[in-house]
Symmetry: C2
Subunit: 336 residues, 2 copies
């Protein structure tokens, strides 16, 4: 199926379908020079599938992992673009997870002041979350996404088949962002997590439909789009403090959400979904340590933080909490 993200002159289609990668050349002009950007972990089979449809293409690979979202890698890719004589009419196709989309998207946003950018997310996390919305960026030191742009892709292809080569833990990690979307906006999406079998295509589709709706109303994150940060304030802090050794992004967001689900019945439902997804339990944490990361978050205003809460399934409130209030919540614990 095809969904259109409606952002006036920046509108673009998202194709969600098994094998949709096979018909890329029917949907866009692949006769231009095209840079395929992917990390070293992407199986050749996906690269070749795309390349076979782009006669004038070349492949730029970079090391897997968040540490590639840095100035040096950004500069290296831009120099490769120059070396390959890319013009303003040419295009970039990113094939990979969130890191690849963020990095390749920022290269596309700034090379010659912006060339066409296409995205093929290959992790569930990127499919349901980062590939929609046009946020591209690199990190500087410990500051995630501190340098970047709002730059919409010209098309996104989501092929559930590419998930087959993904370990189950990675799939569950991505499902957390879909569950998050359901919790704040769509009870029926949460229900899908309680069906006998998890229908990934349906979960992806509903999840994108909601994210698309939010982005359409607030492209530059001045208001509504903040609800997508549900679970992320404490989640990011856990990720910064303990994530590198032990946890994935989605797993940390799952932990972060628990603190702000207000309905005890809903919290129980969510905990059994977490069990089903084999998510790791919230570890013993040091409140002071987490607070130091929360204060450090560059998106935090000077004296308080916007926190998204879920009073009932499918609804949200946004509250401005002081650091003291957040510290109190952390001390009480997520199951209080």
């Amino acid at each position: 199926m095809k969904m259109i993200v409606d952002l006036q002159e920046y509108s673009y289609p998202i194709w969600i379908e098994a094998n949709c990668l096979d018909s890329l050349s029917n949907q866009i002009d692949t006769s231009r020079r095209i840079a395929l950007i992917a990390d070293e972990g992407i199986p050749d089979i996906w690269i070749q599938k795309v390349r076979s449809q782009c006669p004038d293409s070349f492949v730029l690979r970079f090391a897997q992992g968040e540490s590639s979202k840095c100035f040096l890698q950004y500069e290296t890719l831009l120099k490769e673009m120059i070396r390959h004589d890319m013009t303003r009419k040419d295009a970039i196709i990113a094939i990979g997870g969130g890191v690849t989309g963020d990095l390749a998207g920022f290269v596309a946003a700034t090379y010659m002041r912006g060339i066409d950018f296409y995205n093929i997310p290959t992790t569930l996390l990127a499919q349901v979350d980062s590939s929609v919305g046009g946020k591209v960026a690199i990190d500087v030191d410990e500051y995630k996404n501190i340098v970047g742009a709002f730059y919409q892709p010209k098309a996104v292809w989501i092929d559930p088949n590419v998930l087959q080569t993904l370990p189950p833990r990675q799939v569950h990690n991505g499902l957390v962002e879909a569950l998050k979307t359901g919790l704040i906006q769509d009870p029926s999406l949460v229900d899908l997590f309680e069906e006998e079998t998890l229908d990934l295509t349906q979960i992806i589709t509903r999840s994108i439909a909601i994210k698309k709706h939010v982005v359409e109303q607030d492209e530059k994150e001045n208001g509504l789009r903040k609800i997508l940060n549900f679970g992320h304030t404490i989640g990011h802090a856990i990720e910064s403090a303990y994530g590198l050794q032990s946890y994935l992004h989605g797993e940390c967001v799952a932990m972060g959400m628990l603190f702000f689900i207000e309905d005890p019945e809903l919290k129980k439902r969510v905990l059994s979904i977490y069990d089903r997804l084999q998510l790791p339990p919230l570890p013993a944490y040091d409140t002071k340590e987490l607070m130091s990361y929360i204060r450090h978050d560059k998106k935090a205003k000077h004296q308080s933080v916007s926190i998204v809460k879920v009073p009932r399934v499918g609804t949200f409130t946004i509250e401005e909490l002081s650091y003291e209030q957040i510290e109190f919540i952390l001390e009480k614990g997520a199951l209080a």
Copy 2:
């Protein structure tokens, strides 16, 4: 006077007035944290005038010259932004010429995916040209403006008083871009160059009025905006080949325009304006050398170049010329 550049949600005012810098704090919120970015050549008096209106500001200086439009300087400024805890609500004010506007504008465009950017151009060239239009960029090796963005400022202040500290050659250099604008769009602007005294404020105002009109119709340079490249194809090649030692940007553009003014009477008028502005004459050049730079220009499509010609004062045509045709024109010479 105040002119509004009308780009819907990205509209912004340009203030053109002696001493308009004195009332900055009436026009924008200067209570935020503000980074003032300037090169080491800007007299302290202008910095202080602005700073005195911004209680929570700090100054970032960088070395004068085009070579500061590089990755390293871009990265350094971004790290300074982080070090000063700049948030998405804070702002950058650039004070300087084209290099400063391009560099500081690109920092503003990408720090936290874009924060408010204000520009105070202090050279005539920046006042009549680069400060209007939202093109920001850095260079990579010999490729000028190859990495950047279209990012509109939130306001521009043009104070003709700041030109008093500028050497006359710099003023004349800037006047070339104003003359260019007149040649392609406005006979009365060309007339101003033949008045007994050159009225800078009037020339700046008319010139910006036209540039504003062109930018409003073609923000992202997909069509009409190309006419502003009049004189620049050969001009850039002369600048690359001989500029560093001897010529300024506007001087090279003046040379480049001569090749494509088709009316011989108009060419005579223009040559006497050049005399009045004490512009250097076109040097003996090596056609093959200039051609190698023209072929190299990243904006050139693969086999031809869009060239702007002026058949009569205030009018233009755009033609797609092959490299052979341009070589032929260079061999015939500018006065043919």
